[in-house]
Amino acid sequence: MVLGGGIVPSMDDRRRRFEAQALPHLDAAYNLARWLAPVDAEDIVQDAMLRAFRAFDGFRGGDAKAWLLAIVRNCSRSAGADARRRAHAPLPEDDAGAIASGDADPEAQATRASESRRLNGAITLLPNEFREVLILREMEEMSYREIAETTGAPIGTVMSRLARARGMLKEKLL
């Protein structure tokens, strides 16, 4: 009982710290999983969050977002069927209309939706290692160092992949 009294609060404390430091990045985690493996994104994120929670004692400060996204990325890869899955995955176009649109005019709205579909489709067609750096840079606005931390690639590689990704996306959109 004496032992239990000491441990119970520390577990709750760990949970509180995790909820304060990691849970705020849930949307970022889901966005990355959705772009890497559209079909299994929910399972991947749940798996990653639980693994992150169990490993949380090993996380000594630093960038919680980059750390968490590294686990999400590993989970979506270790499922091992990235490419296979992507081949069957529907393009994330069904919800393109969900993106906030300031246009009241239905015609402008339709144009916007079709531009969104085209852009989403082009991003989906990028190979994984290029798609992920682009998502992390342009959507999560992460620094090169954070992207390197998440992807496990050296900074120089992050930089060249990002430049290639931008070039490839531009060509696909031409």
Partner: protein, 252 residues
């Protein structure tokens, strides 16, 4: 076809992404302005950034997933409490990530020191100097019909001025300042306890970085018509983005 023929293209990109220290940024900026391949790269990358921000799907976790995860963590918390032992596997895995991150960080510090750039430094300096001297406002008014004409004759540019009080950004006034040596109009807004400033100066064809953080202040840059614009504040990134969206959607 993206022209990546210039050997400096990665440095130009790092400048665009706000990753360079001030001295390197100044050099990179000079080069980018003079090199056709780099100019084109910056224009393309900035356009892509804009369209991704505005039009690409950014997924948010569905509420039921959040609930499921919170429950799973609570459950796991109990389980661990009973076992009094946590699994060691992910300790190891996370350790590996940490180690490669450390290696990456060391390369980073050798390659690229702290993030900043000349426009970024210049706007940040103008903003913080005004804050420190309590001299942020030369014309006090919440009426854009008063603020906009006040700039005429004082500065060569006519900045977009509108009141976004309904959206939480109240117009409080304006002043003039200098950004990278050029006169700039500054429109001052208040958002709760935060001050947000919109800088506008004449677009002289110099390239702009997309944004960055310096001395705790975040700045976002964009071009519109014949103006270079920058919004700066110590607000959360999301709030500053909201403000920029408001300004950009306001047709003058």
């Amino acid at each position: 076809m993206t022209d990546m023929s210039c050997p400096e293209i990665l440095r130009t990109q790092a400048w665009l992404d706000g990753e360079l220290d001030e001295a390197t940024a100044a050099e990179a900026e000079r080069h980018a302005n003079a090199c056709a391949a780099c100019r084109a790269f910056v224009a393309d990358a900035a356009a892509l950034s804009d369209s991704m921000r505005e039009r690409a799907a950014r997924w948010t976790a569905p509420p039921h997933l959040r609930t499921r995860i919170t429950a799973a963590i609570a459950n796991d918390s109990r389980r661990v409490r009973i076992n009094l032992r946590s699994e060691n596997f992910w300790f190891g895995a996370a350790g590996g990530v940490g180690l490669s991150a450390l290696a990456a960080a060391m390369v980073f510090f050798l390659l690229l020191p702290v993030a900043s750039s000349t426009f970024l430094e210049s706007v940040t300096d103008a903003h913080t100097n005004a804050l420190m001297s309590h001299h942020t406002i030369e014309v006090v008014s919440s009426n854009h019909h008063t603020v906009k004409p006040w700039f005429a004759g004082r500065v060569e540019v006519s900045p977009p001025v509108a009141d976004f009080a309904a959206q939480g950004f109240a117009l409080v006034g304006g002043r003039v300042a200098r950004v990278a040596g050029a006169p700039a109009a500054v429109v001052v807004y208040r958002h709760g306890a935060h001050e947000v400033e919109l800088f506008a100066w004449a677009d002289k064809g110099r390239l702009l970085p997309r944004g960055g953080v310096s001395h705790g202040y975040r700045t976002m840059f964009w071009k519109e018509g014949d103006l270079d614009l920058a919004a700066i504040s110590d607000m959360e990134r999301g709030e500053l983005e909201k403000f920029v969206q408001l300004v950009r959607s306001e047709k003058q």
